[in-house]
Symmetry: C2
Subunit: 119 residues, 2 copies
Amino acid sequence: MSTTLDPQVAARLKRTDDGLVAAVVQAHDTGEVLMLGWMSDEALARTLSTGRATYWSRSRQELWVKGETSGHRQWVREVRLDCDGDALLVRVEQEGPACHTGERTCFDADLLPLAADPA
Amino acid sequence: MSTTLDPQVAARLKRTDDGLVAAVVQAHDTGEVLMLGWMSDEALARTLSTGRATYWSRSRQELWVKGETSGHRQWVREVRLDCDGDALLVRVEQEGPACHTGERTCFDADLLPLAADPA
């Protein structure tokens, strides 16, 4: 396992002030957007080298391998970087629900009201 | 058009230090992840009330209606908030390519190397 990111990849990242890149996680089979995570350079290096999605927890301030405690692992099929280097698209095979609430995705519960008649 | 966010929605947002929430943008028909944008409270209020995806440009430090100059507009079908309030999923009908480079999505160009044999 590599904990150091390839310098050529590292040079392309545009990080937030706290050194993170947003990672959009998508089910490779259904196309569902499962969650949004955050990756530090080390989290991305571990994700690429182990094939297990690994994030930086902003609340706990630590690396976090998805499913390590819940068993709801993410097996990485593909990682893409966006055009300006500030977002990753991680396509995964998701075991069980992606959300810690037990929902299939983290976006299942909360639909915001859209104006019916845009003005 | 409303430029002020519903206080009940505003209370559920968990913003970055610069007051933004990440917005994952997905094509409502194909399920493709098109781009990642950032929304301030006002950008979200405008998005919900006009049905046109509106972001905060971190580089230009201004509100930005997607497609205003390029014509590559996004018509919003659905906006969802994630379980911990720090990400939005915006499902849109995309006119033309979503990426300013002319690619269909902002994630088309750059596939990162994944270890073939995870260790």
